[in-house]
Amino acid sequence: MHAVVAIKQVPDTSNVRIDPETGTLIREGVPAIVNPYDIHAVEAAVQLKERLGGGQVTVITMGPPKAAEALLECVEQGADRAILISDRKFGGADTLATSYVLAHTIEAINAELPVDIIFFGKQAIDGDTAQVGPGVATRLNIPLITYAVAIEEFDLAARRAVVHRRVEQGIEVLETTLPVLLTVEKEIAPVRHAPLPRLIAAARYQPETWTATSPVLFDPQQIGLKGSPTVVGKAYTPPPRSGGDVLSVADLGLDAVVARAMAVIGQAHVRDLQPVTGVVS
């Protein structure tokens, strides 16, 4: 079994602040972490490998040299190989360019050792687009299952798997052929406390670095700013919401409260609402 996990290093958004003047992220002094969903993706891959009694987990990321830290954390969690795709030429990539780079990388990895399953976190907490995983599946022309929460069956010989997927109404159980690409929820696998020998292995591990030209050649038209048609018009901090009115039934009586509420709703141009008067326990 060969699993590839694509991860992203993100600023710890519990610490993120926006510069009120420029409207941009203040990145200075903000600790970088592995995108929380991605670390569960790594764990899912490692647990799948353990379940099947062997295999290889390869972790990849595109990012600045500092992103190597994030890869090492994945090695601690049990990844066998880590590749950092890093080159100034990749800078400024949107989800289209990123999905090209990752898909092209996975194709190259697949040529060395065929890939059976690809994991992504469901989305990154800094961009929240949830586009790159599906983009890569489309480029590779393989089945895509988003919001995966469990792998019920995984049969390498029969080239099939059964995966549970979270949807609004509940859980979908899907059967797929391999290779497949999953974007995962945190439930797919709880993150375990990495054993000390893994930490030591990671401290001694040196991730591979792939550039825009070596060991594989990326199409310069499709990477970085050049390959990114997305334009960010403006980023701003919305004004804080003011508190709502509190209408006390005890003071005003039920009818008066309902009437006031209906008047406010009417002003907000909400139509076709009939008041339902009744006792609220």
Partner: protein
């Protein structure tokens, strides 16, 4: 047990003591692992203060070329003695502070420690973070042979363990080097804020001509409500470290809330203008062991040594600690190297460590000021009465009221007599001299 994790030495804690030990041993060719519980070296640290370079130069002679993340050289330093509305300020400034590298720098340890740890890693030490050492492993004869951690498969073995775990010295206790937790009488609690200010503004306020000048101020008197303890104000690159340290005991006895003491200090009329408009970026508190020479743990036993805060290596009077820790770490490292050469890790052999420290400033200074904590606690008039007296006297001295000078001098002396008798003053001075001479 065939593939158990074995190193030549284990260091617990990636603070200055631990990293200095690891660096020394790695330079000597030993295979060293440092185990740190924080997310990175320095993560558990709060220190924003004065760092003396002499100890660092001993461990890392080319430290300056390696670009340590210092804040500002200390080119002016001294004392502020606060009464509730005034201050006597005794500052020393000299051109001789302007050399590079300087003797002392202000440092934020959350920046310095990762750099220092990197130097140990570059020398070949293995740094493992986010891992807490939970207990010492001992053989059937009670000799320390390794440590266990909070990680699965978390045991590591080595013939020598250097404990540099900091003020919460649980392992030092487990090693049998110290009997119990420190009593609150001998632990100080420091609360501190880092206040961001643009470098230019900071320089104007403190009268600095540029980034290569900085101020370190120790503050006494009203800052601690006249109780034993000190406040401090240090200039960083573009910010101020400001805080108060007092014995835990005093907070408890006088029912003081640490943050309220600090707020009070920040709002003192003499202090406030320096901070105005600054943005508080960090707030925290940390314990400082002030157990003094007589209550220090045993420094070594079979297969184990202890250095830094865990061993109480702090000279509170001179706000030193980091340099003591680095020197002690280096000496522990050297002792471990010698032990490897001799193949002897017994308590008897490792007692060399203590002898090296005794020959150095570390234990000499600690010995000299062994009575200081007790002295200050038993003589609260130094931080209270005297400081207020001095401020009152200064006010009289510097203002003209149309009163003859002779009358003013009498008034001042009368004030002294009323608040503390002349024999009381003489007695205090004698006690102070004794405490200073050790």
């Amino acid at each position: 047990m065939t593939d158990r994790l074995t190193f030549d030495a284990i260091v617990v804690g990636a603070g200055p003591a631990g990293v200095a030990a690891a660096l020394t041993m790695a330079h000597g060719g030993l295979n060293v692992i440092i185990i740190e519980r924080g997310r990175f070296a320095g993560a558990k640290n709060l220190f924003g203060g004065v760092f003396y370079t002499h100890a660092l130069a001993d461990v890392l002679p080319d430290y300056w070329e390696r670009k340590p993340p210092f804040e500002r050289p200390v080119t002016e330093q001294g004392y502020w003695m606060l009464s509730p509305d005034s201050a006597i300020r005794v500052m020393h400034k000299s051109e001789r502070y302007l050399k590079e590298p300087a003797d002392a720098y202000t440092v934020l340890r959350a920046r310095f420690d990762p750099w220092f740890a990197e130097q140990a890693v570059a020398a070949g030490a293995l740094l493992i973070t986010r891992t807490t050492v939970t207990r010492l492993l001992k053989d059937e004869r009670g000799r320390v042979i390794g440590v266990d951690t909070d990680r699965p498969d978390g045991c590591v073995y080595a013939p020598v363990v250097i404990i540099a775990e900091g003020v919460n010295n649980l392992l030092t206790q487990q090693a049998g080097l110290i009997a119990s937790d420190l009593p609150p009488k001998y632990v100080a609690l420091a609360v501190k804020e880092y206040i961001n200010l643009p470098a230019k503004e900071l320089q104007t306020r403190f009268g600095l001509s540029g980034p290569r000048e900085g101020v370190a101020i120790d503050v006494f008197g009203d800052v601690t409500l006249g109780l034993p303890g000190t406040g401090f104000i240090y200039t960083d690159q573009s910010g101020i470290s400001i805080g108060v340290g007092m014995l835990l005991d005093e907070f408890v006895t006088h029912r003081l809330r640490p943050y309220e003491v600090l707020e009070r200090f920040k709002n003192h009329p003499v202090v406030r203008p320096y901070l105005e408009g600054g943005e508080v970026r960090e707030y925290g508190a940390h314990l400082i062991p002030e157990m003094g020479y007589d209550r220090m743990p045993k420094l070594a036993s079979d297969g184990v040594m202890v250095a830094g805060d865990a061993a109480g290596m702090v000279d509170a009077l001179h706000r030193e600690g980091t340099n003591l820790a680095i020197t002690a770490g280096k000496m522990a490292g050297e002792t471990a190297l010698a032990a490897h050469q001799a193949g002897d890790f017994s308590a008897a052999f490792l007692s060399r460590y203590r002898r090296s420290l005794e020959a150095s400033f570390v234990l000499k200074d600690m010995k000299q000021y062994r009575r200081m904590t007790d002295f200050l606690e038993s003589s609260p008039q130094f931080m209270g009465t005297y400081v207020n007296l001095l401020n009152e006297a200064a006010l009289r001295y510097f203002t003209a009221h149309g009163i003859p000078k002779r009358t003013m001098e009498h008034d001042i002396l009368k004030m002294v007599r009323e608040r503390r008798s002349f024999t009381g003053v003489a007695w205090d001075m004698l006690k102070l001299m004794r405490a200073m001479r050790g």
